[in-house]
């Protein structure tokens, strides 16, 4: 393996904040530089010295895994912070507060504010569940906006008038693509940290979508019957408690493969729990389809993973002379 391949593989496997990744790679490169210089002063040719230094580093994916274990295993503080939004949602449903618009607005605003502040302070692991809830609101509102657009269009065709008024209708039409662009931009940034953390952030989304679908489907109307909807609140609160437990387990499990397994296992279980809670058979086709879509959604951030793009070793050119190691701040 060449030196540039080693650093490329290491970077691909270091799933953590870009700044931390660059710092680790810079430190390792100073080590390799020192080793190459020592070997050359002992009579090795530059090519042989590079080859030997690379061999001594060992398997890059194993080394990256060891770093991942150290840096990405969450502390109990991370666990406490990350589970707060799930527990808050559980409380909101347990006390039937979701029917009060004020609580919904306060909840979404708090999630957005906390996710934004945490993001500006280095995006700690606990920030991702907050980010998920901050993005859940615009994502779930797209379906409502599309229904409003279809309804407005139908009323225009049949009655010659738009019930919501032209300015509001245009606003809704513009809202979808603009908010989509914003969400995609934020998600792409988050994926640069680690696509798996974006999956963790997206964990409540399938359940939210199922909840909304079941609510409207069972009422047969877009305006849910509050009294009937409240009957499901205890079960919904339990699902959010399960989300909190899953998040805690995810953060305390240091191994990446176990984390992937946990997400693949837990999300469909939650969809099935929702289906049972809302008195739909978990064996019906919509439930099975929802489980399939859930797994696909949770694994989809991997498609946005940029791979090795941010770090470029000065030794990327194998024919280049040895140069001083880069400093992360330089």
């Amino acid at each position: 393996m060449k030196l540039f391949s080693l650093f490329g593989l290491l970077e691909q496997n270091l799933h953590m904040a870009p700044a931390k990744r660059v710092e680790i790679l810079s430190e390792l490169q100073t080590h390799v530089d020192d080793r190459i210089q020592e070997l050359q002063s002992n009579g090795f040719s530059p090519a042989d010295a590079q080859e030997r230094a690379v061999l001594e580093i060992g398997d890059p994916s194993q080394l990256a895994g060891a770093y991942y274990n150290v840096h990405e295993t969450g502390s109990w503080r991370d666990v406490a912070m990350a589970t707060v939004p799930h527990l808050a949602l559980a409380a909101i449903f347990a006390f039937h507060l979701w029917t009060d618009l004020l609580w919904v607005v306060v909840g979404i605003s708090a999630a957005t504010f906390i996710a934004g502040v945490a993001w500006r302070n280095g995006a700690p692991q606990w920030a991702f569940p907050w980010l998920g809830y901050a993005l859940a609101a615009p994502m779930l509102s797209w379906s409502l906006a599309m229904v409003a657009i279809a309804y407005g269009g139908w009323m225009l065709l049949t009655g010659g008038d738009i019930p919501l008024g032209v300015p509001l209708y245009i606003g809704i039409v513009l809202y979808i693509p603009l908010s989509m662009l914003l969400v995609i931009r934020i998600v792409r940034k988050a994926v640069r940290h680690d696509w798996l953390m974006v999956s963790l952030a997206a964990l409540p989304l399938p359940f939210f979508a199922t909840w909304m679908f079941m609510l409207h489907w069972r009422q047969g109307t877009l305006t849910p019957n509050k009294a009937r909807a409240l009957e499901y609140d205890a079960d919904t609160a339990i699902v959010f408690l399960a989300l909190a437990i899953t998040t805690a387990m995810y953060l305390k499990v240091g191994r990446r493969l176990w984390r992937i397994g946990l997400l693949i296992l837990s999300a469909p279980v939650m969809v099935a729990m929702a289906a049972i809670a809302y008195q739909a058979s978990p064996h019906t086709f919509p439930t099975i389809a929802a489980i399939g879509l859930t797994v696909a959604l949770l694994l989809s951030p991997i498609l946005l993973d940029p791979g090795s793009v941010s770090y470029r070793s000065p030794l990327d050119d194998p024919n280049a002379d040895l140069k001083p190691s880069p400093h992360p701040n330089s």
Partner: protein
């Protein structure tokens, strides 16, 4: 040669014991460890750096970029106050352990 498991349990204590003498960077640690143990301890990158980062995350050591004597930037590690306390505790534990092992291994009279 020693068993890997023996080193595994003591890597962090050895690093603290070395860094308490002066701040060092990774490659320097490998060389110092090799020299001071007369070639007995050969630290590999895959063991050394994750261990250093684990110690740093536990706030037992501090890491900072600084120029080395030849002017190149290096990440130097130094022992924190918490690390000093941990080293004292580990050293006492190690003394008790080796003393007990030696007592057992001595032929009985």
């Amino acid at each position: 040669m020693y068993q890997k498991e023996l080193l595994k349990g003591n890597t962090e204590t050895l690093l603290l014991a070395l860094l308490v003498q002066e701040p060092m960077y990774g490659y320097q640690i490998v060389k110092e460890m090799e020299q001071r143990s007369s070639g007995y301890f050969l630290f590999r990158e895959g063991t050394l750096y994750p261990a250093l980062h684990r110690l740093e995350k536990a706030r037992l050591i501090n890491g900072a970029w600084a120029p080395s004597p030849n002017g190149q930037q290096r990440r130097y590690y130094s022992v924190s106050e918490l690390g000093m306390r941990e080293l004292r505790r580990k050293a006492a534990e190690w003394r008790d352990f080796t003393q007990a092992v030696n007592l057992v291994m001595q032929p009985s009279r």
